[in-house]
Amino acid sequence: MIDFELSPEQRQIRDLAQRFARDEVMPHAAAWDRDATYPADTVAAAADLGLLNVGVPTEHGGLGLAMLDEALVAEELAYACMGFYTILMASDLGVTPVVIKGTSEQQARFLRPLTEGPRLAAFALSEPDNGSDAAALRTRARIEGDEIVLDGSKMWISNGAEAEWVVVFATADPSAGHRGVVAVVVERGTPGLRAQPIHGKLGQRCAPTAELVLDGVRVPRANVLGEVGDGFALAMRTLDRTRIPVAAGSVGVARRALDEAARYAAERQAFGAPINRLQAIQFKLADMAINVETARLATWRAAWLVDQGRPDAAASAIAKCYASDAAFATANEALHVHGGYGYVDEYPVAKLLRDVKLNQIYEGTNEVMRLVIARSLVR
């Protein structure tokens, strides 16, 4: 009944992602991080190989990759650079609500173009004044005939300035709470939409983040996903899936941290022998391996449930929360194993720690994950 053997295709998918990560991402990750450059060429190369927007269904020109397959890609790319993977992941975050709720006309209009080049999508839920309490969003949506008019601002939007279109969550009726929320696709270049890049991030510095200002943005009602009032549930159903790639990316970072620590511990000498002869260091390595393996199990299980047609909010939240906490702890210990050298950019471990901190925050902080998990326990 339980089978951990990957299929031949899954192994190929993983090998492809691993090869791409090793050849095209890893050699540049440190420079992208230092200069906060957006690696447009490498995103285009990923698109050429089919690694971008993997969730687009086959009937619209995509691959409709299973969640477990996506998790394999995520782990390998994040092993090389979590920031780079966030660019691809955030695009799938934008794609997912269109896949879940879009009509086939909407899917054809919005998804097909994403398969025809290195084109990104984005997802705009958070605002300057609310993140965890997403239902308290303030961006207004007014219905005027065949149009929706949007006013407000969205904060921390990954790919916000680069995306072809953004799924914007807004309220048509602030007094209705989450029942007033509507999800609208807003295309880049729509008058009144402005993206303000956000600088100075601690990590994942090659992944662009922007504030989106919406000032009387008019879009056709045909861009509404589902009905007015469906938006909040759609956002939550989206995140129930997309937290799994966050978890898988965390596993990749943790595995990298373990590899870096193991390598360094074999080279570094102290008291006349490599430090990996010290049991204190060996135990750290063992704990890191425990983290990697258990985080991957939680992630694969959540992915498997999605692929069985039984996406499970709690399982995804457990995976995201556990894997990102485990990855943070692993990166932290890997840095420690490097001693003083861990504290500077000469070795990649400091970047791992800075990068993976975000995994504990975005797509719902790990406190919010615990709220989601608790909701399935407390009736």
């Binding site: 031949p8 295709e9 192994r11 190929q12 998918i13 492809l16 090869r19 089919g50 691959l63």
Partner: protein
């Protein structure tokens, strides 16, 4: 026309192998398509992309796990695959005779074979296959072009290279430099799922040769440490690489 490309799965050069009791312990090694065979798959694809109407059939031989190598070829672009499955090790001549049956059955015109088998390093399979078929053979091939049924190929010889011309059918043995194999893209990996993979038990008959003994070679590393400042240490390193290891040559020498 029909192009066959012969494949073998070999331990990944980066995987960990252990020497135990004088022989290799490969448990835990990961297996990949032999890099030399990959050149062959790529060469076949390039022949087709040059405008030749060709069916490309990947033919693997070896243990069941070889399907991974064969599927890599399918994902790179081969149209279908045949896998001769068998666990036992056979000498290259025995394998070549079994493969020759497949080549005849498929009525192929052109066969690519990896230059060496990355694990046994025999470099004998391609020549043996050409001999078994009575075909022409190009060894150590670094360039290959087809025009109708006429081919032109460049291959390495001891003091440089030779350019050869001939007509199909031919067995071409690959060499590094022939091409830069493509990655199987994700869409092609997904498409390959629907391609046919015909697995048969390898029927090789009697081995022409058997391995009766095995002895490992072990060599200690020299562990030389060069002292002094960077400039003199670098100078000494260059001298040793040039005069002792003979891996460097001065211009004009």
């Amino acid at each position: 026309m029909k192009i066959l490309t012969i494949l073998k799965q070999v331990p990944d050069a980066e995987s960990r192998v252990r020497v135990q009791h004088g022989s290799l312990d490969l448990t835990g090694a990961t297996y990949v398509l032999d890099g030399m065979d990959e050149y062959g798959v790529e060469a076949a694809l390039r022949v087709r992309e040059s405008g030749v109407d060709a069916e490309i059939v990947a033919v693997g031989y070896g243990p069941a796990a070889t399907d991974q190598a064969v599927r890599t070829a399918l994902a790179m672009g081969a149209d279908r695959a045949v896998l001769l499955e068998g666990d036992a090790f056979h000498d290259p001549l025995t394998v070549a005779l079994a493969l020759a049956d497949v080549v005849r059955e498929e009525a192929a015109d052109l066969v690519f074979v990896g230059g060496k088998q990355a694990d046994w390093d025999s470099a004998a399979l391609g020549p043996a296959l050409a001999e078994a078929l009575g075909w022409a053979h190009v060894d150590w091939t670094t360039a290959f072009d087809l025009d109708g049924d006429a081919f032109e190929a460049v291959h390495d010889v001891d003091d440089g290279s030779e350019t050869l011309r001939g007509r199909l059918p031919v067995v071409v043995t690959t060499q590094q430099g022939l091409n830069e194999p493509r990655y199987p893209t994700l869409p092609n990996i997904m498409k390959a799922r629907r391609k046919t993979l015909d697995t048969r038990a390898a029927d090789v008959g009697q081995d022409r040769m058997v391995v009766t003994g095995h002895a490992g070679t072990e060599r200690e590393r020299r562990r030389v440490m060069l002292d002094g400042d960077a400039r003199s240490a670098a100078g000494e390193l260059v001298r040793r690489l040039r005069d002792e290891a003979k891996v460097l040559r001065e211009e004009g020498r």
